[in-house]
Symmetry: C2
Subunit: 120 residues, 2 copies
Amino acid sequence: MEKRDDLCCETTEVHGELLKIVNETMPDETELYDLAELFKVFGDSTRIRILFVLFEAEVCVCDLAAALRMTQSAISHQLRILKQNKLVKSRREGKSVFYSLADDHVRTIIAQGREHIEEE
Amino acid sequence: MEKRDDLCCETTEVHGELLKIVNETMPDETELYDLAELFKVFGDSTRIRILFVLFEAEVCVCDLAAALRMTQSAISHQLRILKQNKLVKSRREGKSVFYSLADDHVRTIIAQGREHIEEE
DNA sequence: TTTTCATATGAACAATTATTCATATGTTTG
DNA sequence: CAAACATATGAATAATTGTTCATATGAAAA
């Protein structure tokens, strides 16, 4: 059984190629960071609930707050995060600001997430 | 312009139906929580990097640690989280434990995430 | 212009979390 | 059995984050 010096434990086949795989297929630092940031946005049940509302309708901030029974401030803070990450877009109409889904990746990602947790 | 008493601000059409929408299409508390928990798992670049390695090969803990240049402990802690959330499964072979992807939702979710951030 | 309504935002606090360190568990080898 | 190796885990720490409270901005109405 031959010795490897680049990796620590002794396995059966992958090893030498592992670093190559990692270097060739791993996205760069920036993309990894952005990916994690994106998923963090989905990782809060308040934001998820906001998204479920926006799946059905374009709504203004205070309607969201009322529907989800949370303060306007809390909703507004979360909408800012959703918007910064382009999950949501906004449109001003008089005093109100209406929010809606920015694109359909959001639906797909959440749908896949639901499939995953229901597959148990 | 008629007055509403269930919601705070005055808009154009959705309002009265909003609460109905919310009640009918919103997943229950438990599912919302589980969904958020699932996405939290994707919301860390160390775990994302682990997943990218597992996209390509089944690997043991210390190979992962070496490839990602992190301590065995840090990797092990993260693998536990990935496993608890069924993103990853493990198999013992002698002293080593090999980890691999649990199912394909993981690929889909990450692929959609990449599409989203690259669409900018 | 002053008031009122809708939204945004900074600061503070509590809660969560990723990593490190030390150590425990489990497996093989001598 | 003891020693060595691979992995897991509890405690501690530093960093991040969601909500609240107070207040600011922006738009319409009086």
